[in-house]
């Protein structure tokens, strides 16, 4: 049991090694092998969930892995799981499993595609489990490589542009994070410098200053900004968001799902795991700014989403809008808001993944994504008549995304609003209208795509098949069950989140 | 009785034959044969010196090595020749000028 986290992280890599012996021509075997690997990873994470003790707020002691890695620099290979990372681990393993199923019709280089997908899974799981900043950084960077190739090779018509944009943006963030990491290493302790996140946490660096260009700057403010930008690019927070629509539109279905469902959460996870615990005073100092940025994300993302005619781009902007709620919840620094934010990370992962998977299903039939084509004619229309089963799943996904009570999104959004109200009343009042806009763009999209008479070239589309229904069902179940009864997810996170909030409140 | 000088003379003749073949002949196979001659000359020298000067077994061992190495060398050399012939359809040594920039 103590090696479970190792198994979870490295199993996809073992899967890649196993895949090497399968001949390139045997495509079916490659696909099934990838499915089996991700399925076993999912099962391991479920075992982890089963053995998780929700009363422990710290890292689960049963699962901690700590092995010296580069002993000269006191760098350890440290893995651990707590209530904040476990929901993300579950989400990651689930989405990768579904994504391998959704990648059945990849047109070219099947072996390389699945190998990269598995590498991506390993690195994302590593980011969520790493407790050494150096290890965290390594996984964070490794994640870039498969993403770059997955978008750049299997993407749409403008894929190189999108891949390079994604890479450069993320890399800029990584560099700032690297600077912050190294700075932390040097102040972390006399004689025993360390990258250990747990020992860095707790706000030890309040009174330090750092001299830059002849000025004494407060250490924690400066490097909080560095880490903030590093993570904010990933979220993405408003001024750093433009890579997202490009990357989403160009990426193949499964990669869009992973991008929206998991990778965006790495940014907010970074806040929760690294930026806030290490610089609590600075994060309280910047809480106002974070909240306002979150508000801008919500409103601006929703307004931009409403104008899109490419359905994938619309959902991409909706992701920006929804991640704004997470930012708001983080800025609240109350137990409701933080729990709401983590829950929103999970819920947005499931609902947006559903939407992207559904659009992928549609794209396999239509080979375009226009609600309204650039020449003004209707791209989709009357799909309700043409694809009844597909429509039902789409309705569930759409209403979950807009936060209809009874589906998952509502609880997290309500918790966030309750959490932020006392501290940011004005922002709450404004942000609530984001819900209105959110309903508007989704319903308008739905109306244009699904209602009315069937558009002529939509008449050949076939309804969802058994495989597609199979991989949609877990998500449908997740949004419905956690919408009515969110306690299973909230229970695992509440102790860890509560501890973080309590620590922040002492500053 | 034959003495050391006689052996060395024969060895010299063999050596010079080999040099001349290598320098003068344009056929790569012939050049390889020339190299074999030179190797044989060297082997003969070893044996002669061992017999008349050192009275030691070492000099007898060395020709055996030379024979083995020569055989291996001939194999590699002929393989190169065959590949060369397949590419150039000739075994004329002056056509092997790829090293020239």
């Amino acid at each position: 049991m103590s090696n479970l986290l190792n198994w979870i992280v490295w199993l996809p890599v073992l899967g890649i090694l196993g895949m090497l012996v399968i001949p390139k021509s045997n495509e079916t075997a490659i696909k099934y092998w990838a499915v089996i690997t991700t399925a076993v990873t999912l099962i391991l994470t479920l075992i982890l969930w089963n053995n998780f003790d929700p009363t422990i707020a710290d890292m689960q002691p049963n699962f901690m892995v700590k092995i010296p890695w580069i002993a000269q620099f006191n760098i350890n290979y440290t893995l651990g799981v707590d209530g904040i990372s476990l929901p993300m681990i579950l989400l990651t393993a689930l989405l990768f499993f579904l994504c391998t199923l959704a990648s059945w019709n990849i047109p070219k280089f099947i072996k390389a595609y699945f190998a990269l997908l598995l590498l991506l899974e390993a690195s994302v799981l590593g980011v969520f489990l790493a407790l050494d900043f150096f290890l965290f950084y390594v996984f964070w960077e490794v994640m870039l490589i498969p993403m770059f190739f997955l978008i750049g090779i299997w993407g749409g018509e403008n894929r190189e542009y999108a891949a390079i944009k994604f890479f450069l943006f993320t890399f800029l963030g990584s560099i700032l994070m690297l600077v912050g990491m190294i700075a932390l290493y040097y102040v972390s302790g006399q004689g025993a410098n360390s990258f250990d996140i747990l020992s860095l946490s707790g706000g030890h660096f309040r009174d330090l200053t750092v001299t830059m260009f002849g000025h004494d700057l407060p250490f924690n403010i400066l490097f909080f900004i560095f880490l903030f930008i590093g993570f904010a690019i990933k979220v993405p927070v408003f001024p750093f968001h433009t890579w997202l629509p490009h990357a989403h539109v160009q990426a193949p279905t499964a990669v869009s799902v992973i991008l929206a469902g998991v990778l965006l959460k790495m940014g907010t996870y970074g806040f929760l795991r690294i930026a806030f615990p290490i610089f609590p005073a600075a994060s309280i100092y910047f809480a106002d700014a974070i909240a306002w940025l979150g508000l801008v994300n919500i409103i601006y993302g929703a307004l931009c989403a409403m104008a899109q005619t490419d359905v994938k781009k619309l959902i991409a902007y909706s992701s920006i809008s929804h991640m704004g709620f997470v930012m708001l919840g983080l800025a609240a620094m109350t137990v409701q808001g933080m729990n709401g934010a983590v829950l929103q990370m999970f819920n947005h992962g499931t609902s947006t993944a559903m939407l992207f998977l559904l659009i992928g299903i549609l794209y396999e039939r239509s080979h375009h994504r226009w609600i309204i084509r650039p020449d003004g004619s209707r791209g989709f229309g009357g799909l309700y008549t043409q694809l009844p089963k597909y429509t039902i799943i789409f309705i569930i996904a759409m209403f979950a995304s807009m936060g209809l009570p009874g589906l998952s999104g509502f609880i997290s959004e309500a918790l966030i609003f309750i959490g932020i109200y006392e501290r940011f009343t004005t922002i709450t009042v404004l942000a609530v209208f984001g819900l209105l806009l959110g309903a508007a763009y989704l319903l308008w999209m739905f109306k244009r795509m699904f209602f009315g008479e069937v558009v002529e070239d939509n008449k050949q589309y076939t309804d969802v098949n058994a495989r597609e229904i199979f991989y949609m069902l877990p998500l449908v179940a997740a949004v419905m069950i956690f919408g009515v009864y969110p306690a299973p997810i909230l229970n695992i996170m509440r102790a860890s989140v509560g501890k973080l909030v309590m620590m922040l409140n002492t500053f | 009785m034959m003495n050391l000088a006689a052996y060395l003379f024969i060895s010299l003749v063999l050596f010079l034959c080999g040099i001349i073949v290598i320098i003068a002949r344009k056929n790569i196979v012939a050049i390889l044969i020339g190299m074999e001659l030179i190797l044989n000359a060297a082997a003969l020298n070893f044996v002669a010196y061992s017999r008349y000067v050192t009275h030691h077994i070492d000099g007898h061992i060395f020709p055996l090595f030379i024979i083995v190495v020569a055989a291996a060398e001939a194999v590699v050399g002929l393989a190169i020749v065959i590949r060369f012939f397949q590419i150039k359809e000739t075994i004329h040594i002056d056509d092997a000028t790829q090293l020239q920039s």
Binding site: Y300, L303, A307, V335, Y384, L404, V429, F451 | -
Partner: protein
């Protein structure tokens, strides 16, 4: 018998279970899904009739309530406490509403088996939505807190969206369902804001906690944006009512809601959705009162009542007339809330639900039979009807009774309830001058109501058939269990005796050994002082039966001096007489205009006003054409253009230009200075040497060998 959570939960769980099951089987068998849905609602009706009986005739009828709480989730850690409880709260008002919802819902769904049979858009699918809709309303009725009210509220929003968009191939249905959802969502957003604000003060949104907080004056002194917090909360929560109950200025969605099948209109307009808004306003009445916005509520109600009634005058679609009459009647209820006629507003809610459900079902009965053989569609335009009472006598009788009720004729339910609302408005007007316009609006709307309803009756059932072919094709009505039974059942309950029992002035129900008018006795304003320092015990699954209500001020002996009570009673009598005359006046005007001539003589005289009315006071044009088409969408396109066209293109991709300048400068330096002079300089020198050495590099192996041999020979020579 005591109620436990498990004995009371089936009221909402049964229909929910029926929804899940019917949704699962609807692909396989329509009839099975319909059967499950029907048994779900009927089962819930049976359970709730027990609750109803206990609360009206039995042990609970003295202002007791059932309150059961369970923990939904708990985020507490250490001394940071945050718990969310859900619970069931049933008092007399909830019990009555519950009974009405399940009964009317059952009737509507029974009627739907007639109306929707064989519908190509899905007979079973319709019932799946309907049962979910009922679940939402039932759950809302018995909720003990605003959060679960909001959840069921939105669930109904979703169901209304699905039902209005039921005919998904119709463009108008698509428009209407989005409009309905979005318009109500505007109100919902404010409602959510109110919930959040209440939570921040009270730490819970349970009704009893809110009442207790009001009694403890926890809101005192708090302000937001310069206005008292409690006023802000009251307005926000009332915005929810405005959205859901289609009050001015968010009334635009309700007329369009008739794009759905007619039984769903009955469900939305009568039993469930719009009633929820008024029910909410009644539940949070203490907040409205504490926020001092009752006059605002009254004005909204009055404006809505009159405005919608005027629009109804010019409608020719039978369902549109009914839709506007719904808005108008909802305006009455809200007006009733505003003038403090608490139980009268609730009584009107119940009475209206019954007669409006019946009216819609009756109109459905007409529409379903009027089949246009040219277009293949159903006819709902009144100009093509006329004389139908001979063809459909049973529908006619049901509809006539309901029309009497809605018009406020004596001995009918509408008279009992509306008279009290108007009477209270009248009393308020005599006491506060600012309420005089409210009373005038109310009476004017009452007059118009009688007029347009009888106009509809005359145009539909009387006179000569205007479309002879259509008339001849219509079948003679026969008694069908699922067509006429629900109509007749509902129309019986339009009689006033069921609501007041005041044929003799004595109530039906015996309370404390005395007979009272049961509505006025049982449904009373929550008196927050009784909840002072009340807190619900944690996780209690037990009954908490407490008497916590004051007597209504209708009961002349309570809460008022005998002198004042007499005065109020006196004014009420005057108000009642006025409203009788007004109803008769409306009837007579309609009689002379439409029965005698069956044309509209005023349409030409007030052409511009008719045009304004036909355009519904231009609200749709303003919202859709103005705010959305001219405001929101261009703004969206502007922002999207800023984002991709300006920000991304110049500020993000612009870095490429900056870098291009940098790297071309660096490239020039590298090429000219570093490369040409330093690197190539060395290179040129090397090349010179190279030329010399090159001559030796013949590439001929024998030449190399020869040179090597000569060199070796030379070396050996030097050794010699």
């Amino acid at each position: 018998m005591e109620y436990t959570l498990t004995s009371i939960a089936p009221i909402v769980l049964l229909p929910f279970l029926a929804f899940i099951l019917s949704a699962l089987v609807v692909k396989k068998s329509d009839n099975l899904a319909v059967g499950i849905a029907l048994s779900g609602i009927v089962g819930s009706a049976i359970f709730s009739s027990r609750v109803f009986y206990d609360f009206v005739f039995g042990v609970y009828s003295k202002g007791y309530y059932i309150h059961k709480v369970f923990n939904w989730f708990d985020l507490s850690y250490g001394d940071l406490v945050f718990k969310v409880d859900m619970g069931i709260y049933i008092d007399n008002m909830a019990a009555i509403l519950l009974f009405m919802v399940t009964m009317v819902g059952s009737m509507i769904m029974i009627f739907s088996t007639y109306y929707m049979k064989g519908d190509k858009f899905g007979y079973g699918r319709f019932f799946v939505y309907m049962i979910l809709f009922s679940t939402g309303m039932i759950g809302l009725t018995i909720s003990d807190n605003l959060l679960s009210v909001f959840m069921f509220w939105e669930l109904m929003g979703f169901c209304s969206y699905s039902l209005i968009g039921f005919y998904y191939q119709k463009e108008s249905a698509a428009q209407a369902c989005v409009k309905a959802f979005m318009t109500t969502r505007v109100g919902d957003v404010f409602f959510l804001l109110a919930i959040v604000a209440i939570w921040s003060v009270v730490g819970s949104v349970s009704f009893v906690d809110i009442y207790a907080a009001l009694a403890d004056e926890k809101f005192a002194g708090l302000a937001i944006f310069g206005i008292p917090l409690i006023t802000f909360i009251a307005i926000s929560i009332f915005m929810g009512t405005i959205g859901k109950s289609a009050q001015f200025p968010l009334q635009v969605w309700l007329p369009d809601a008739m794009q759905g099948p007619t039984p769903c209109s009955a469900m939305i307009h009568a039993a469930t959705m719009v009633a929820a808004g008024v029910y909410l306003a009644l539940r949070v009445y203490p907040i409205l009162e504490a926020g001092h916005i009752l006059i605002f509520v009254a004005y909204i109600g009055g404006i809505t009542a009159l405005g919608a009634a005027t629009i109804a005058l010019v409608q020719t679609d039978i369902k549109a007339v009914l839709a506007y009459s719904t808005i108008s009647q909802l305006g009455y209820m809200v007006l009733g809330v505003g003038v403090g006629a608490y139980n009268a507003a609730f009584m009107h809610l119940i009475a209206h639900a019954v007669f409006k459900a019946c009216l819609f079902l009756a109109s459905g009965s007409i529409i379903h039979e009027l089949h246009d053989h040219h277009t293949g569609g159903h006819v709902q335009e009144m100009p093509r009807m006329g004389g139908l009472r001979k063809k459909m006598p049973l529908t006619f009788i049901a509809m006539l009774l309901c029309t009497f009720a809605i018009s406020g004729f004596p001995f009918f339910s509408g008279f009992v309830s509306k008279d009290r609302i108007l009477g209270d408005a009248f009393v308020m007007a005599t006491q506060h001058g600012s309420f005089i316009p409210v009373a005038i609006l109310g009476y004017a709307a009452a007059f118009l109501t009688a007029f347009y309803m009888f106009r509809m009756m005359f145009l539909t059932f009387f006179g000569e058939p205007r479309d002879k072919e259509l008339y001849d094709h219509t079948k003679q009505e026969t008694l069908l269990w699922n067509r006429n039974m629900p109509l007749l059942f509902l129309s019986i309950f339009t009689l006033g005796v069921f609501y007041s029992g005041s044929f003799t002035g004595q109530g039906l129900v015996k309370v404390a050994g005395d007979r009272y008018e049961w509505f006025s006795t049982l449904v009373q304003k929550p008196h927050v002082e009784n909840f002072k320092s009340y807190s619900k015990s944690e996780f209690n699954y037990e009954d908490s039966i407490t008497r916590n209500f004051e007597k209504s001020h209708y009961d002349a002996s309570h809460g008022m001096s005998a002198d004042k009570a007499h005065h109020v009673h006196h004014i009420h009598s005057i108000g009642a007489v006025i409203s009788i005359f007004i109803a008769l006046g409306g009837f007579l005007l309609a009689f002379f205009m439409y029965f005698k001539k069956s044309i509209n003589p005023w349409a030409s005289k007030f052409a511009w006003y008719t045009k304004v009315l036909k355009n519904k006071y231009y609200f749709d044009d303003f919202y859709l054409g103005g705010l959305i088409q001219k405001g929101l969408l261009p703004m969206n396109r502007f922002f999207a253009w800023i984002d991709m066209g300006i920000y991304d293109r110049f500020f993000i991709d612009g870095w490429e230009r900056v870098l291009a300048v940098c790297y071309s400068a660096a490239g020039w330096f590298d090429r000219i200075i570093v490369d040409t002079i330093f690197v190539d300089g060395i290179g040129a020198g090397t090349r010179l040497v190279n030329v010399i050495l090159r001559t030796f590099q013949s590439g001929k192996i024998q030449f190399y060998f020869l040179v090597g041999f000569i060199g070796l020979a030379g070396y050996i020579l030097t050794l010699l």
